[in-house]
């Protein structure tokens, strides 16, 4: 009663036989052995398991592994290239955009999709774009700064300040 599933994860082909009920996040963690993708809830609220599926941000607890058949997946482990951190990873480091680090992989993947869709987001667009990802440590202040900073590095011009940040100096 196992089903074959073939995917490409971070550019590498994976073929496995899995139970049809196996969630994609458990496939990534327990079968493919990529533990950077985390599980923080059981109702698809927290976003810690966010990955890219064919370039689109998906909470990998909302898909079965078999639904990923033929798809190209990117996890946090696939973000750095040739030993260089992705600009988002670098920005999270530079701007102190993480503390315990548990939400960070999902946050970075959601931000990657956000910037792909909208290279020059305002602060409020960043907030909106990350509303599916919970962080308990940072109050999101430095996460917003990180995404703003990465957008700048990645070529979008400086993010316009949203109305809420206009008064803030930090």
């Amino acid at each position: 009663m196992k089903h074959k599933v073939a995917t490409t994860i971070n550019g590498r082909r994976h073929e496995d036989e899995v139970e049809p009920r196996l969630l994609l996040v458990h496939y990534i963690r327990d079968v493919a052995g990529l533990t950077g993708t985390h599980v923080g809830c059981d109702t698809s609220q927290c976003g810690a398991c966010t990955i890219l599926v064919d370039g689109k941000a998906v909470k990998s607890c909302t898909m079965f592994a078999v639904q990923a058949e033929g798809k190209s997946l990117t996890t946090i482990e696939g973000m750095a290239k040739d030993g260089e951190l992705h600009p988002l990873q670098q920005a999270f480091w530079d701007e102190h955009g993480l503390q315990c680090g548990f939400c960070t992989p999902g946050m970075i993947m959601a931000a990657a999709y956000l910037l792909a869709e909208n290279p020059r987001p305002t602060d409020d667009e960043i907030r909106k774009g990350l509303e599916g990802n919970l962080c308990r440590c940072t109050g999101y202040v430095n996460i917003i700064k990180s995404v703003r900073s990465a957008a700048k590095t990645m070529g979008g011009s400086a993010a316009r300040a949203g109305e809420k940040s206009a008064a803030g100096r930090s």
């Binding site: 139970e19 009920r21 196996l22 963690r29 990529l34 533990t35 950077g36 985390h38 599980v39 923080g40 809830c41 059981d42 109702t43 609220q45 927290c46 810690a48 996890t75 946090i76 482990e77 973000m79 750095a80 951190l85 990873q89 999270f92 480091w93 530079d94 102190h96 993480l98 503390q99 315990c100 680090g101 548990f102 939400c103 960070t104 992989p105 970075i108 602060d123 960043i126 907030r127 909106k128 990350l130 509303e131 599916g132 990802n133 919970l134 962080c135 308990r136 440590c137 940072t138 109050g139 999101y140 202040v141 430095n142 996460i143 917003i144 809420k164 940040s165 008064a167 803030g168 930090s170």
Partner: protein, 793 residues
């Protein structure tokens, strides 16, 4: 101290490159060959008698390895889960707690059985086939009704539901009569779920050959976990190793031992297989200890000129079904209730009440957010009554002389409360805001400005104060510094970093003390097999003021030994040796100098002073002489929607003083997160139980509202710096400050906004629903000519 270069610098965190790359290692990222998954079968009822447990069907389910209930665990676990005497000496009733229920369950989701299976899916499947026959008993949910003589009991057959009742200071009626104005208020502190993004989890492996138990656990205090587990399993501590690797947040909820911390290792011993249990989010919301859960009855009085006279506090604390290990610690709400002010008299009584809910225990701030909230609310109520500006009544009554001995005998180390207030007012543009508020009111806009001049106690703590509170173990801290032959340095600490950035900040201290390049210093924590015999963990904003000082002390011991050796090598007197930026030389000959690394190499050789042993390494235990008392002023600016009651948090200003700062970037990050959790309590979060059945209604993140990025403005931060004289680094603590300050600032702002309606107090969470109802009531009564004076005496 030498001229510093690293202390105070914004050093980017060295733990981050792996964490942003998905190379962190949290408990669930570990596995051992042959690991089985454990699922816990939990009570669906808040209170019930267990009549029978039928495991027949579950035993036959695919993949099942074993099923264990109380009778199995009783073979390998002895003793009850620990409860510290803590600050409440007069315990009335502390019901014993075994990690799994035998005959009675006293809160929803108390463990009843466990299933071990080859996969976590199979364990969950089989768990649902276990048939437990319960006889439901009445659930005790209301704190006041629980104390009535006719109330049903949380524990069947118990005498009453009273956990403790302690009067710290009784009423001084003569002083209370001196007040010209008196305000009374009941303030609720709703239950909160700490909700670290990583839930709890345990992986345990028992080696039968040599009888050693290795446990990977998401914990803030691995040494305490080892101490308790070794005791429960009858193993010497030397054969129990607890590893707390990367931990995805704790916020106080990963200090105390939990049922699963013992059940998983016990199951590993019983089954002979490594066993892993990872808490689901629903389990986390239902079983990980909650914070707050209190009712305060308050009375405060002042003179006509605004001079504070008295504050009377009665705290009712919802203990839950069993007393949490550090539950009584939260009675410190009483001890800190006076806040930053001179009161002529403070009366305080704490009453702990058992209920059929999950136990409460420390959650970020643990008693101090409640203290700030009640104090700052009462100050605003007095200001309203006296028609004084909230800033002025604070300024008039601040404690200004330090050290200051409080009514409860606590000695406030240092402070400059007015300075922080002034800076916050300046950043807010207070006068302008008041004018805008006045103008807005003319147009039906409800703008509010809320102040919170907070103080706290942290840096737990001096042995004299903490050993009696824990039942014997002083909450000092340990560190070991080892210098290797070629000059690399390893530091082992007993604190645990789960987001606080110790891997970065502690080496900053060592770099300055030893004069060794920062990159040559390795920091290790979270493994009881390494470093000193005992470590005390991270909680109560203690890591820097106690742990950082232990690191500093161990480093200084290394320097002292190296100085002796340098004197021997230079054939000079020890007092003539100069130690400067990591180099030793004889006074007057700085050109002939030797680096610490060279001395380290020599320390492993044969040319040592008589009696000196090889190596440069030192263990230090640091016992602080006092607690430390950080402080600050936060200001929240809100607008309440006149139609819907929705609160728009427009700005948030935080001026904090935690003494000297090691790494400003990390300090600001701690404030951000702390403030966010305080705002979350003020506006969004609440654990809700059905008051009849005791069923939790907020068992998922759909129902329990952890805020998203949409809910916060960018916080505006600054600091004043008032070093503590308590320790050589002049440092206090900042981990809980934001949470301690924020709820009061936000609620004061909301009450300030709604003052024109005669609304004096709003409880938390200040949801649109709650505010809308109060606005409706206020508008209704206003039309009847009622001026809302019912709260006044």
């Amino acid at each position: 101290m030498a001229i510093t270069t690293m202390i105070g610098a914004k050093i980017h965190r060295r733990e981050d490159p792996r964490l942003v790359s998905g190379e962190g290692h949290y408990v669930d990222d570990f596995t051992r060959p042959g690991t089985v998954s454990l699922a816990v079968v939990r009570s669906p009822f808040a209170h019930a008698r267990i009549k029978s447990i039928d495991i027949t069907a579950a035993s036959k389910a695919p993949g099942v390895v074993a099923i264990y209930t109380h009778k199995d665990f009783a073979k390998v676990l002895s003793g009850i889960m620990p409860v510290t005497p803590s600050f409440v000496a007069e315990k009335k009733h502390n019901p014993p707690r075994f990690p799994i229920a035998e005959k009675e369950v006293v809160y929803q989701s108390e463990p009843v059985a466990v299933v071990l299976a080859e996969t976590n899916y199979q364990a969950a499947d089989a768990g649902s086939l276990i048939d437990v026959d319960y006889e439901q008993l009445p659930a005790v949910m209301d704190l006041e009704k629980a104390l009535e003589p006719k109330s049903p009991h949380v524990h069947d057959g118990a005498a009453d539901n009273l956990g403790w009742d302690l009067t710290y200071i009784p009423d001084d009626v003569a002083v209370m009569k001196e007040a010209d104005v008196v305000v009374k208020q009941r303030i609720l502190q709703q239950r909160l779920a700490p909700t670290s993004m990583e839930t709890r989890g345990v992986l345990a492996e028992y080696a039968r050959g040599d009888g050693t138990m290795t446990v990977w656990m998401s914990s803030q205090s691995p040494h305490f976990a080892r101490l308790f587990l070794a005791g429960a399993m009858g193993l010497p501590e030397t054969r129990v190793r607890v590893i707390s690797p990367d931990v995805g947040g704790g916020f106080g909820s990963k200090i105390s031992p939990y049922s699963e911390d013992w059940l998983v290792p016990a199951a590993a011993k019983l089954s002979g297989r490594p066993v892993k249990w990872i808490e689901t989010r629903t389990e986390s919301l239902q079983t990980t200890t909650h914070g707050r859960g209190m009712i305060f009855d308050l009375e405060a009085g002042a003179k006509k000129d605004g001079t504070l006279v008295f504050l009377k506090v009665t705290q009712y604390m919802d203990i839950g079904g069993y007393m949490g290990t550090f539950s009584a610690f939260q009675a410190n709400s009483c001890l800190l209730a006076g806040g930053a002010y001179n009161w002529k008299h403070i009366a305080a009584r704490t009453i702990g009440v058992l209920t059929n809910r999950v136990p409460t225990d420390p959650y970020r701030g643990a008693g101090r957010p409640e203290a700030t909230h009640l104090c700052e609310r009462m100050i605003d109520l007095l200001a309203g009554e006296l028609k004084m500006d909230p800033a002025e009544i604070r300024r008039k009554n601040f404690i200004t002389d330090f050290p200051h001995t409080s009514h409860f005998g606590l000695v406030y180390d240092s402070g400059a409360y007015e300075k922080a207030l002034d800076r916050a007012l300046e950043m807010a543009g207070y006068e302008k805001l008041r004018r805008e508020q006045e103008e807005g009111r003319k147009h039906g806009r409800y703008l509010g400005i809320g102040l919170s001049s907070w103080i706290e106690i942290c840096g737990f703590g001096p042995s004299a104060g903490t050993a009696p509170a824990t039942g014997g173990i002083a909450l000092v801290e340990s560190a070991q510094v080892r210098v290797f032959p070629t000059g690399s340095v390893a530091v082992y600490v007993g604190t645990h970093s789960h987001g606080q950035g110790h891997d970065t900040t502690f080496p900053q201290i060592v770099a300055d003390t030893l004069g060794v390049p920062y990159d040559m210093i390795e920091m290790r924590h979270g493994d009881t097999a390494e470093g000193p015999a005992f470590g005390y963990g991270t909680y109560g904003s203690r890591s820097l003021a106690v742990g950082g000082m232990a690191v500093h002390k161990a480093s200084k011991k290394v320097v002292a030994k190296a100085t002796k050796l340098a004197a021997h090598i230079f054939e000079a007197a020890e007092e003539d040796i100069v130690f400067d930026h990591g180099h030793f030389y004889v006074k007057g000959s700085p050109d002939k100098r030797k680096a610490l690394g060279e001395i380290a190499f020599a320390s492993f050789g044969m040319n040592l002073p008589e009696g000196m042993e090889q190596s440069l390494e030192a263990v230090a235990y640091y016992d602080p002489s006092n607690f430390v008392f950080p402080f600050g002023t936060h200001i929240a600016i809100v607008e309440v929607d006149a139609e819907t009651g929705d609160v728009d948090l427009k700005r948030y200003i935080a001026v904090d003083d935690c003494g000297n700062i090691i790494n400003p970037m990390i300090v600001d990050g701690q404030v951000h997160g702390g403030v966010a959790q305080g705002i979350a309590q003020a506006l969004y979060e609440e654990v809700v139980y059905d008051e009849e059945s005791g069923q939790m209604r907020t068992g998922t993140l759909t129902d329990y509202l952890v805020p998203t990025a949409n809910e916060f403005p960018m916080f505006e931060l600054d600091h004043t710096v008032t070093p503590t004289p308590t320790n050589e680094l002049g440092v206090k603590g900042i981990g809980e400050a934001g949470t301690i300050a924020a709820s009061a600032a936000v609620i004061n702002a909301i009450c300030d906004a709604l003052a024109p309606l005669g609304i004096k107090h709003v409880d938390m969470p200040a949801s649109p629903d709650r505010i809308w109802k109060q606005m409706q009531n206020a508008r209704g009564t206003s039309r009847d000519g009622h001026d809302g004076k019912e709260a006044r005496k």
